[in-house]
């Protein structure tokens, strides 16, 4: 049976996630299709139909219901998974807060896509950014392999007793969801222990879940979410270290490329963060000491040390009337004065050559909308 030996495959980001889900074997999957996520739910439905995955698959009638069903299943102590994108993620919004407040470790893949109008199915991070404050852990991946590895780790992190929060694995629409890359699978084995949800419904010990709650208790529950978010930092490090030890691939809150001696850091998330490495190689050939810092974990947001270096941030999502979301997050948590480039909205093509240009033409403290108000 597949999953009992490690395999070398060629897969899309979507297929890699479906394969990871198959191996982790959640008890319940509830999902609703949306471009560019469809391949994930179709593949999972196919696994369930051909018996290679024994999950209960609930083909819900909406994303609000997908998340509600995952919450309902999860509170019985079942492992759950769903996947969505863009408008689907926004349609879940109410239930995303509910999942975090209910402390259910639902794992979800979100294929990052722009939001209408006009209709646009291509990559953008605004969908995930708009759910930033819901209490979900959020990670952004950049390769097919990373999508697979991170989805497996996601279950262990979310279900850890010090976390017990839902977790969103973000991957760029099309540029990663539909791109074929080599994939090496692992044998999950006891890397993912059985889920133990301490507050699972127990009919022998009846309790009320989520009733009216006064300000004092409510406030404590909210603090408890934040405390777990903070504790998640260590859990993430531990799980990633164990993954590296067992399977040989190492991940962290950020991924650094040629950063040790860099004077200038190019900071991005998702596939842009990988493309930036090529830009760095080009810049280095010109004698510009650039490095790439890819922000992998967005919630909890990593602790960055950017001191003494110029910073160029590429943002694939914007907070209107405020600024690039990643840029502003970095400004809030470091002393950096970044050159903020807004690029790639609605799937806009941005190459490593463009990125090298952002570094060469950087104007610290300023903001540029690439291709719109570019000063060349």
């Amino acid at each position: 049976m597949r999953g009992e030996t490690a395999m070398q495959l060629i897969a899309t980001g979507n297929k890699a996630i479906a394969e990871a889900v198959r191996q982790v074997n959640p008890e319940v999957v509830a999902a609703y299709p949306i471009t560019p996520q469809t391949e994930i739910v179709e593949q999972i439905a196919a696994y369930v139909s051909d018996g290679t995955l024994a999950s209960q698959y609930i083909p819900v009638e909406s994303e609000h219901s997908a998340m509600a069903a995952c919450i309902g299943a999860s509170v019985t102590g079942a492992r759950t998974f769903t996947a969505t994108s863009s408008h689907g993620l926004l349609y879940m919004h109410e239930m995303l807060h509910w999942a975090a407040g209910a402390r259910v470790p639902v794992v979800m893949a979100n294929v990052n896509r722009a939001l209408g109008p006009g209709w646009n199915v291509w990559a953008e991070h605004s969908d995930a950014f708009s759910q930033r404050d819901t209490g979900w852990l959020q990670v952004f991946v950049s390769t097919v392999q990373e999508a697979y590895d991170t989805t497996i780790m996601a279950f262990r992190i979310a279900e850890h007793e010090d976390v017990l929060l839902p977790l969103m694995v973000n991957l760029d629409g099309f540029t990663l969801s539909h791109t074929m890359q080599p994939l090496e699978t692992v044998v999950v084995g006891d890397f993912i222990p059985p889920l133990h949800l301490p507050h699972a419904i127990d009919v022998a010990h009846p309790r009320g879940y989520g009733p009216l709650t006064g300000p004092d208790e409510f406030f404590r529950f909210r603090w408890d979410i934040e405390r777990s978010m903070r504790d998640a930092r260590k859990v993430i490090l531990d799980v990633e270290a164990d993954f590296g030890k067992r399977f040989g691939r190492q991940y962290g809150p950020i991924e650094e490329y040629r950063c040790e001696d860099a004077d200038i850091l190019l900071i991005a998330m998702g596939t842009f963060g990988k493309e930036a490495e090529v830009a760095v190689d080009d810049l280095r050939r010109e004698g510009i000491k650039a490095g790439s810092l890819r922000v992998r974990w967005f919630r909890p947001f990593p602790v960055l040390d950017l001191s003494g270096r110029d910073v160029v941030v590429i943002d694939r999502g914007y907070s209107f009337g405020f600024g690039g979301v990643l840029t502003r997050s970095i400004q809030a948590t470091t002393k950096a004065e970044p050159f903020s480039v807004i690029a790639g909205l609605g799937g806009q093509e941005v190459t490593y050559r463009d990125m090298a240009g952002f570094v060469r033409n950087r104007r610290p403290g300023e903001e540029e909308w690439f291709g719109v108000n570019t000063i060349v």
């Binding site: 319940v28 819900v60 009638e61 909406s62 609000h64 219901s65 299943a73 999860s74």
Partner: protein, 294 residues
């Protein structure tokens, strides 16, 4: 004789209003279901009457969920219990707003997918939790805080919408007939798949009648034919005892309307329309019972 279990799953001192018939009914629902169950409750009066954390007035697990999401949440629970091979019953107890309005999509989806659960809509014919605004289930002519002159649209026929999903079991009930309700819940829970019970639950503050009249108002709803008690098991319709009697001899509709302050603005024309709707509904039922469709 039906034996009603002595166990109480709603403890004394809920925060329901005096004369709250939906809470009285829930007591019988839980007695019929027994302790191996989870009650799923969306935002509604029932999310209030169970008490404030960390206390609970319920002696069974109650899962509170967002207003629109009860049926979907129950779908997930039901799937998880199926996967675990556990027989725990999943019962939704939702208001009319959470059923015929905001929760309709999730409800329809859960029924279409054949979810194994029981969905009970207790119908107080308005949004009670938020102070009695109109719902799709508010009857023609009734005053609510958002229909201060009386509602100009008729009540949505949720039963026919649910019937269109061909569930194994659908029934109506009324809080004034607890034994009938108890038997229907018991019957529903003996069947696999999605079951629906639509329960009329007179609401003293919302309908504007004295709390001690809550049973009388419920009985008049049935005796005037405004509310018809029936059940449909695998498609076969059966009229329940109290409504069989009402079909033979009806109390005039006015007796029901004049007990309730919410109908004080109702026009003659609206009364006639209500009466026509009653006649039509009873005729349809009588016809089907006489000549069951194959």
């Amino acid at each position: 004789m039906t034996e009603i279990p002595k166990e109480e799953y709603i403890l004394k001192c809920t925060s329901a209003c005096a004369g709250c018939s939906s809470t009285l009914s829930l007591r019988y629902v839980l007695k019929a279901a027994g302790p191996d169950m989870v009650l799923v409750v969306p935002a509604c009066c029932t999310s209030v009457i169970q008490g404030t954390y960390p206390r609970t007035a319920m002696n069974i697990p109650v899962y509170n969920i967002a207003f629109a999401a009860a049926a979907a949440c129950a779908s997930g629970m039901s799937a998880a219990y199926r996967k675990k091979g556990v027989k725990t019953r999943v019962i939704v107890y939702a208001g009319d707003g959470g059923t015929v309005d905001i929760g309709l999509q999730a409800l329809s989806g859960a029924f279409e997918r054949g979810t194994d659960f029981l969905y009970i809509c207790y119908d107080n014919e308005a949004y009670g939790n938020t102070g009695m605004q109109r719902s799709g289930s508010t009857p023609l002519g009734a005053i609510t805080t958002t229909t201060p002159g009386g509602k100009v649209h008729p009540k949505k026929d949720i039963d026919r919408i649910i019937e269109a999903h061909n569930p194994p079991y659908i029934a109506t009930a009324c809080s004034a007939y607890p034994l009938d309700l108890f038997q229907k819940v018991t019957k529903a829970l003996s069947l696999e798949g999605p079951k629906f019970i639509h329960l009329l639950a007179p609401c003293p503050p919302g309908w504007r009648f004295p709390a001690e009249k809550t049973v009388e108002v419920g009985k008049l709803a049935v005796k005037t034919g405004s509310w018809i008690l029936w059940e449909r098991e695998h498609g076969t319709l059966q009229v329940s005892g109290p409504s069989r009697a009402a079909m033979k001899k009806r109390v005039p509709l006015d007796e029901y309307l004049k007990m309730q302050g919410r109908f004080r603005n109702i026009t003659e024309q609206q009364k006639q329309e209500l009466q026509r709707n009653i006649d039509r509904a009873l005729a349809r039922i009588a016809c089907e019972v006489k000549q069951p469709c194959s």
